[in-house]
């Protein structure tokens, strides 16, 4: 355990996104990226569990530079503009739970937020942290995948907008460059009152990392899915966007889908493993079950 190492770290505060991007650029050029600290619900625990910092000849290795972004106003806030919802990267799950705009227009985000840890974690954890850490088990990432959100990143080179389908590049890896800051996510909202789905399967309701979780957002017109967004957690090295299931379900009237073809599409889209939380077999079983449950809610008979 290297809790003591935390005392070695340097922490800086910045006045805004501009100065932050400059620090990111300087450090990236040195090959020593900055750790952006928001709620610390992943990062602090990781520091505790990893081996002590290596002591190089001539003294301890330079610990990473930590910049506190937990209250950086450029990264905070929830705003609704027409049918676009923008959520700052340093917005906490508790703030999303308390937002009238999210309750009214993005209820899946509110419902998902209730299942992130317990209130102590919801008060600290942020969407940006979830995106940057890029765990395939991340509840927030699954929900953003279902909304087909856009991740807005900024660097001294300018702004870049990353679709969820291009964000995660491997297990806990993203296409964010070392000099880029995740600023916000933007969601093109479905029509008010559109159906949505959230199901998290874990060992208990609070403080559990999912065995499987599924987020879904849909618009159904005349028995057909005009829009279907899906994000499944804990069934692949990255958050699963279930492209085969999406393609199948928008291709025909929902009532014509069969359970067998839905199951086959699910099997194509996931590659679960046995680990400390669950088994491959149970995850496959749950994945089929939650996709079918979601589709039944949309009018399919599967």
């Amino acid at each position: 355990m290297s809790l003591a190492d935390l005392r070695l770290f340097e922490m800086r505060h910045v006045a805004g996104l501009g100065p932050l991007c400059e620090i990111m650029a300087e450090r990236a050029a040195l090959g020593a990226p900055v750790t952006l600290l928001a709620g610390g619900t992943d990062w602090v625990v990781e520091q505790e569990l990893r081996p002590p910092l290596e002591v190089a000849a001539g003294g301890p290795a330079a610990p990473p530079l930590v910049v506190d972004v937990s209250r950086l106003s450029d990264l905070r806030g929830i705003s609704l503009s027409g049918d676009t919802l923008r959520v700052g990267a340093a917005t906490t799950y508790l703030e999303m739970l308390r937002s009238d705009a999210i309750a009214a227009r993005a209820p899946l985000l509110a419902r998902m937020s209730r299942d992130v840890g317990a209130v102590q974690i919801q008060a600290r954890g942020t969407l940006g942290g979830n995106l940057a850490t890029a765990s395939p088990a991340a509840d927030g990432v699954a929900a953003l995948a279902a909304y087909d959100a856009t991740v807005v990143v900024q660097s001294v080179r300018g702004e870049r907008r990353i679709p969820m389908s291009a964000l995660q590049t491997g297990y806990k890896r993203t296409s964010r460059a070392p000099d880029e800051v995740i600023v916000a996510v933007e969601i093109a909202l479905p029509a008010p009152g559109s159906p949505w789905y959230w199901r998290k399967i874990g060992a208990r309701r609070a403080q559990a990392i999912s065995k499987v979780a599924l987020a879904g957002v849909a618009e159904v017109r005349s028995g057909r899915a005009a829009r279907l967004g899906l994000g499944m957690a804990s069934v692949a090295p990255t958050t699963a966007l279930l492209p085969s299931v999406r393609a199948l379900c928008v291709s025909r009237p929902l009532a014509e889908l069969t359970g067998a073809e839905v199951d086959a599409a699910v099997a194509q889209d996931i590659s679960p493993i046995d680990d400390v939380r669950s088994t491959r077999g149970y995850r496959e079983h749950c994945a089929r079950g939650v996709v079918r449950e979601l589709l039944r809610q949309l009018g399919a008979q599967v």
Binding site: L6, R7, E10, M11, G40, V45, V66, Q120
Partner: protein
């Protein structure tokens, strides 16, 4: 790094490495050992304190993130030598058992009652879901919180 914060209503200053945990600042230089260290990884809730009114795990908050913030610990609940309604009800209803989880339970419950004066049993359980009781005696804890809610609504003691 020098950090000024307001602890239980009083301005305090600590001088610690910025990545030191709020938990260590409280139990060390601030001398407030009512906040307990349990798992030290944000699972058990024993170190729960209120940060600007919301429950957080003090083991996951860096002191360098606390400039200007308001922290409430279990020592801040009693007022002028009188136990708060929650503390009284934990004593009277058997909500305090071995005691390790009690300070964290009290603060999670305090945050709940500040926002929701008449919570249902489910709301109480949800609000306490991040606080583990190693005695597994949750029923009495939930009953204590609901009794305190009734006491507060009846004006049986001002909130701290």
């Amino acid at each position: 790094m020098k950090v000024s914060l307001v602890v239980n209503g009083s301005p305090r200053e600590v001088d610690l490495p910025p990545l030191s945990r709020l938990l260590d600042a409280l139990r060390g230089p601030l001398g407030l050992t009512g906040t307990k260290e349990g798992c030290a990884e944000g699972e058990c809730g024993a170190c729960t304190v209120l940060l600007d009114g919301d429950p957080v795990n003090a083991c996951l908050v860096a002191i360098g993130q606390c400039e200007g913030r308001r922290v409430t610990t279990v020592e801040g609940l009693a007022c002028a030598g009188h136990l708060s309604p929650l503390q009284r009800c934990f004593v009277e209803e058997g909500g305090a058992q071995c005691g390790i989880c009690t300070p964290g339970m009290l603060l999670s419950a305090e945050a709940l009652l500040a926002r929701s004066p008449d919570p249902s049993e489910l709301e109480v359980r949800e609000a306490l879901a991040g606080n583990l009781c190693r005695c597994t005696g949750y029923q009495r804890i939930v009953e204590s919180v609901r009794a305190a809610a009734a006491l507060r609504r009846g004006g049986g003691g001002a909130a701290p």
